[in-house]
């Protein structure tokens, strides 16, 4: 008995000592919690690392739990900022306890990839999606003279998990195909009329690689890293544009002229001659009225840095950086973030 009591006391002491040691240094640092989209996670973690070198007192903790989770958590105020690949709906914004700002951070693109003999470079027109069932359909053949297109059914492969990538892809389909818009619509998961579901970019790519005649979509970054064939798509201006970092940024530049003040804009099928038409912003979500002055300042400071100096890290990680006019619009937005009515942005 005596020995066990001594053990208990010893354990308790150890716990108390460990706890106070762990807490001691952490109080000196500011911890900012965020949660949400998985798609921008690589660039965000790079940013948090780099920003910690500049601003040593701020530490970021980001959980990439998916856009849905990010929206739920920022709405419940369990995190200091959220992140999402698809803009929040009006209903969701109304459900939030305060006014939420969407701040675009980088741009991502989604590409059409396929598995055909020799994987020729293909060009797609918007009218083929949801309309054709065979690879040697005249609508593909006409714009791809010389390509060897077999008499084979097209096996559609899509994401089975809810994802921002799916949202961007079906948002584009809904814009170019009115039947799709009515029957299927837009969402991170949709009721696919045909096809097989693969989990994640790797699931879709693996399924395509193993299925002759397969056609599916993956993130641009994933396609470049894994050397997957990616089709050029005919854009609104009538030109076939290859998916690249440059043509993705061009999509945001094309949309900048008619940017709504809350940045909730779709970049798919954007106007402009060099625009790749299947692209989207990804956003951070912050409250206009920050509940904590110190944290609010840190968040706004970080967002300013990310939309300026931080952009140079984007291309290395295969994200498209924001075009200059959009950065100007973000600057104006960040000036509106307040704590008890006072703007939080330090004079830049």
């Amino acid at each position: 008995m005596m020995t066990s009591r001594r053990v208990v006391v010893g354990l308790l002491t150890a716990v108390v000592v460990a706890w106070s040691c762990g807490v001691g240094p952490a109080t000196a640092q500011l911890l900012i919690n965020g949660a949400g989209a998985t798609f921008p996670y690589p660039i965000y973690s790079k940013w948090f690392d780099e920003y910690a070198k500049i601003s040593r007192s701020v530490n970021f903790n980001y959980q990439s739990i998916g856009s849905g989770g990010g929206i739920r958590q920022i709405t419940a105020r369990t995190v200091d900022f959220g992140a999402t690949d698809g803009p929040m709906t009006d209903e969701q914004l109304k459900a939030a306890p305060g006014e939420l700002f969407h701040v675009p951070t980088v741009i991502g693109a989604v590409v059409a990839t396929y598995n055909l003999p020799g994987n020729p470079k293909l060009r797609f027109t918007p009218d083929i999606f949801g309309k054709i069932t065979k690879w040697n359909d005249a609508r593909i053949k006409d714009v791809n003279p010389g390509a060897n297109l077999p008499d084979q059914p097209i096996v559609v492969v899509h994401r089975s998990d809810g994802s921002g990538t799916t949202y961007i892809w079906v948002d584009y389909l809904a814009k170019v195909n009115s039947e799709w818009e009515q029957k299927v619509g837009r969402g991170t998961s949709v009721k696919w009329p045909v096809g097989l579901g693969g989990k994640g970019n790797e699931g879709v790519a693996g399924q395509i690689k193993n299925t002759p005649g397969a056609l599916g979509y993956v993130e641009l970054a994933y396609a470049i890293k894994n050397n997957l064939p990616a089709a050029s798509i005919r854009n609104k201006a009538g030109r076939f544009v290859e998916p690249t970092i440059g043509s993705t940024t061009a999509a945001a530049a094309g949309a900048a002229a008619e940017m709504p003040p809350d940045f909730r804009v779709s970049l798919t099928n954007a106007p402009g001659p060099d625009v790749y038409p299947i692209a989207s912003f990804t956003w951070l979500l912050v409250y206009r009225e920050q509940p904590d002055e110190v944290k609010g300042k840190a968040i706004v400071g970080f967002l300013w840095w990310a939309s300026h100096d931080g952009q140079k890290y984007a291309a290395d990680l295969l994200y498209a950086p924001l075009p200059a006019p959009v950065v100007k619009q973000i600057e104006a937005k960040l000036r509106q973030v307040v704590y008890q009515g006072r703007p939080l942005l330090a004079a830049q």
């Binding site: 849905g68 998990d161 619509g185 991170t188 696919w192 579901g197 693969g198 193993n210």
Partner: protein, 333 residues
């Protein structure tokens, strides 16, 4: 020990120090016993409380979906997150069919391997094979899934499905284009995953059958097969059913490998070549991005149904073991 009862007797001056000490020890022991009983009781009740709590929390979170769809949730098959119409029939169907297919393939193989290892295999063969079988059970399911995508599915698509289509294509089970992935691939990978469980547990059950059982059967002139069938399998059948149900339990809840191989298409199709979907898979796939309360509720309701399904299967299993255990041929030592 008599001293322990000395409190009433020890009022005299002859036993001045022992009784109080013994009394204290007794009290402490009684306290210890009681404490032990309470702690184990709490541990014993914890699973009940946990299951009840989980069910209650899930039912609460699933309420929007329960109220909106009612029974239609399990009888309709339209799963449309955009229109917020949810019917879970394809997932229930897919879970049951893929698990039953897995059992159909795994039970003969698993039991056969167990009988061989316990009864027939030469002594030198038993340890390495047993070790390998048990190691199979330790492989993470994502590894099975990857192997399934890159080896099993292409093999099914290029060889097995065309062959089945040619020879048995008149059956609705083997019709449709060969994708590789689909119900057949999911059932196969599940079978491979549960064979080690069935084999390992069955082997232990068979080893626990007393030698006398076998000797008695042999003495009566039974052949090797008859001895195994009458004296060994029948004696251990409730344990063997337990082994099979352990495998079934794993198959019902398996998520990762199945998600990677079943094709994730919410449709009820009677062809094994067609893609399907399971309850665990749809939760894993769609939970992270489900934003509306109704959508989230529908996914949680599927989790609740999976819980109910698992409980029902386990209940049936108990019933089966019980009815088999009452059989007349159980010989006691």
């Amino acid at each position: 020990m008599a001293v322990v009862y000395g409190r009433s007797a020890g009022a005299g001056a002859a036993t001045p120090t022992v009784p109080p000490l013994a009394g204290a020890r007794r009290a402490r022991r009684r306290f210890g016993d009681r404490g032990f009983r309470e702690i184990t009781r709490a541990a014993g009740l914890a699973p009940l409380v946990l299951v009840a709590g989980m069910a209650a929390v899930m039912a609460h979170a699933a309420w929007p979906s329960l109220r909106r769809f009612g029974w239609a949730f399990i009888t309709t098959s339209n799963w449309d997150p955009v229109a917020e119409q949810f019917g879970a029939l394809p997932f229930i169907f897919g879970t049951l069919v893929s698990s039953l297919l897995a059992l159909l393939l795994a039970v003969p193989l698993g039991l056969g391997a167990a009988i061989y290892l316990a009864e027939l295999a030469p002594r030198a063969v038993r340890p390495p094979v047993t070790f390998l079988v048990e190691m199979l059970a330790a492989i993470p399911s994502v590894v099975y899934g990857l192997w399934g995508i890159f080896v099993l599915a292409p093999w099914l698509r290029t060889w097995v499905q065309p062959a089945l289509g040619h020879t048995l294509g008149f059956l609705p089970l083997f019709q449709g284009p060969p994708y590789g992935v689909g119900m057949l691939a999911a059932g196969l990978i599940l079978a491979i995953m549960i064979v080690p469980f069935i084999t390992a547990v069955s082997r232990e059950v068979l080893l626990a059958v007393p030698r006398m059982q076998r000797e008695a059967a042999l003495a009566l002139g039974a052949t090797g097969w008859e001895t195994t069938r009458i004296a060994v399998l029948r004696y251990g059948r409730s344990g063997l059913i337990g082994a099979i149900l352990l495998g079934l339990g794993r198959a019902l809840g398996e998520t990762m490998a199945v998600t990677m191989l079943i094709g994730n298409r919410p449709e009820v199709s009677f062809s094994l070549f067609a893609p399907g979907y399971t309850m665990a898979s749809v939760i894993a796939n769609e939970f992270t991005e489900a934003t509306s309360d109704l959508y989230l509720g529908a996914l949680i309701e599927i989790g609740l149904l999976l819980l109910v399904l698992t409980l029902a299967v386990n209940g049936l299993a108990r019933l089966l073991v019980w009815s088999v255990g009452r059989g007349p041929t159980v010989v006691r030592e």
